[in-house]
């Protein structure tokens, strides 16, 4: 993110200095203030969905849904806790139904459960992010709404191609994520093998030094 962010802002600023330097600062402020507006909307949406979520937890609906989808989620996200799988299932259900506002807080909770305390994202976290960012929505309701308000003859024409395109992008994403996670695991193994024989030697040296001093 750091690299992308730096390149994007720097290149845009350079462009703005050439084209219209006086507008640069106001553009940055308008970006920040639209974030503030978005935050106000989001806090309202989160409040409702987190409330519904806590009701669902109370009912035990979360566990029921989890049991239903466990065979799939457990295979995709190997070695995750039940709680993480529960949030993953709920996040996917919300996404499938097109409830983006509900999906985000659930996704954040799932990520919290999956983190291992290090600064590097785990393979499962990456897989989860990839699935979320390729969209698994069954019915693109917003787009259909936009199309009908723009006067389309058949606004729902795009449902089938959208569904197929979503499946294609999600499958591609999952396959790539799994492939890269395998590759990085192999590399890690190789690195471990390289470092293991060195360690005893190092220890040897230390011990010898210690003995010599005595």
């Amino acid at each position: 993110m750091n690299i992308v962010f730096t390149i994007m802002t720097l290149a845009s600023l350079v462009m703005l200095i050439v084209v219209s330097p006086e507008s640069a600062f106001s553009i940055m402020i308008s970006g920040a203030s639209s974030a503030l507006k978005l935050a106000f909307t989001l806090v309202a949406i989160y409040a409702i969905w987190l409330s519904v979520l806590s009701l669902m937890e109370g009912i035990g609906l979360n566990r029921m849904l989890n049991n239903l989808f466990r065979p799939i989620t457990k295979r995709l996200f190997k070695g995750e806790s039940d709680l993480a799988l529960e949030y993953i299932t709920l996040n996917f259900s919300a996404n499938l139904l097109g409830m983006g506002g509900a999906a985000t807080p659930l996704g954040i909770k799932a990520m919290e459960c999956m983190q291992d305390g290090s600064e590097r994202a785990t393979d499962n976290m990456i897989l989860f992010m990839v699935i979320n960012s390729t969209s698994i929505q069954l019915l693109p309701a917003t787009i259909i709404g936009l199309r009908s308000s723009a006067g389309s003859n058949s606004p729902s024409d795009i449902i089938l191609p959208s569904l197929i395109a979503t499946v294609i992008s999600t499958v591609t994403g999952v396959a790539l994520a799994k492939l890269l996670s395998c590759l990085s695991k192999k590399e890690k193994k190789k690195e471990d093998e390289k470092t293991i024989p060195k360690q005893p030697l190092y220890l040897d040296g230390k011990i010898k030094v210690g003995v010599a001093k005595k």
């Binding site: 962010f5 994007m8 802002t9 290149a11 845009s12 703005l16 084209v19 507008s23 640069a24 553009i27 940055m28 970006g31 978005l38 935050a39 806090v43 989160y46 409040a47 409702i48 987190l50 409330s51 519904v52 806590s54 009701l55 109370g58 009912i59 985000t104 807080p105 996704g107 954040i108 990520m111 919290e112 983190q115 305390g117 290090s118 600064e119 590097r120 994202a121 990456i126 992010m129 990839v130 960012s133 390729t134 969209s135 693109p140 787009i143 936009l146 199309r147 723009a150 389309s152 003859n153 606004p155 795009i158 089938l160 959208s162 395109a165 992008s169 591609t172 994403g173 790539l176 890269l180």
Partner: protein, 168 residues
């Protein structure tokens, strides 16, 4: 039909909770409280992302990159008019919806270009937003290969969208 789903869903949950003697009011208080702490950790990320996105789209860099990308799109068999929306899609949801409306106006809602654009926007997500917000409460700083893969997957989906729109 779909307008009934949401209120019915929430209504059923509340009724079910009432029957199971789950405290409904307390749950709503708890959820609202949680939402404030959640937004406090999410806000810095969306703020930074939106500053960059606003700069990127209003500086003209977006349009400039779109121009460079058009020949690549034609090579892939996609309409070159889509280049701008393809660049903005992973960055900003609102931005891509605005561009989509522009395409509807300029080319007609039921044109091939407009249908392609609709499918592309409908079948992808704002990758950078997901990447920054989802990790916002974790300690993770290095996303490793998460963003490149998400982008590749989304663009494979976009190419597929254009092919699909030709036949369906």
């Amino acid at each position: 039909m779909s307008k009934y789903i949401l209120p019915a869903f929430i209504g059923i949950i509340i009724l079910w909770a009432f029957i199971k003697r789950v405290p409904v009011y307390d749950s709503f208080v708890k959820g609202s409280k949680e939402s404030i702490s959640l937004i406090l950790s999410v806000f810095p990320y969306i703020c930074a992302v939106l500053i960059a996105v606003e700069l990127f789209s209003l500086s003209g860099l977006n349009a400039y990159l779109a121009k460079i990308m058009s020949p690549v799109l034609s090579f892939l068999g996609m309409p070159p008019e889509l280049s701008e929306i393809l660049i903005i899609r992973p960055l900003s949801g609102n931005g891509s919806l605005a561009l989509l409306e522009g395409i509807y106006e300029n080319y007609g809602v039921d044109s091939y270009v407009a249908r392609c654009a609709s499918v592309i926007v409908g079948a992808s997500e704002t990758v950078f937003y997901v990447g920054s917000v989802y990790f916002s409460t974790t300690k993770v700083k290095k996303l490793r290969y998460a963003i490149p893969i998400s982008l590749v997957a989304c663009y494979v989906g976009a190419v597929a969208s254009c092919v699909l729109c030709r036949f369906i």
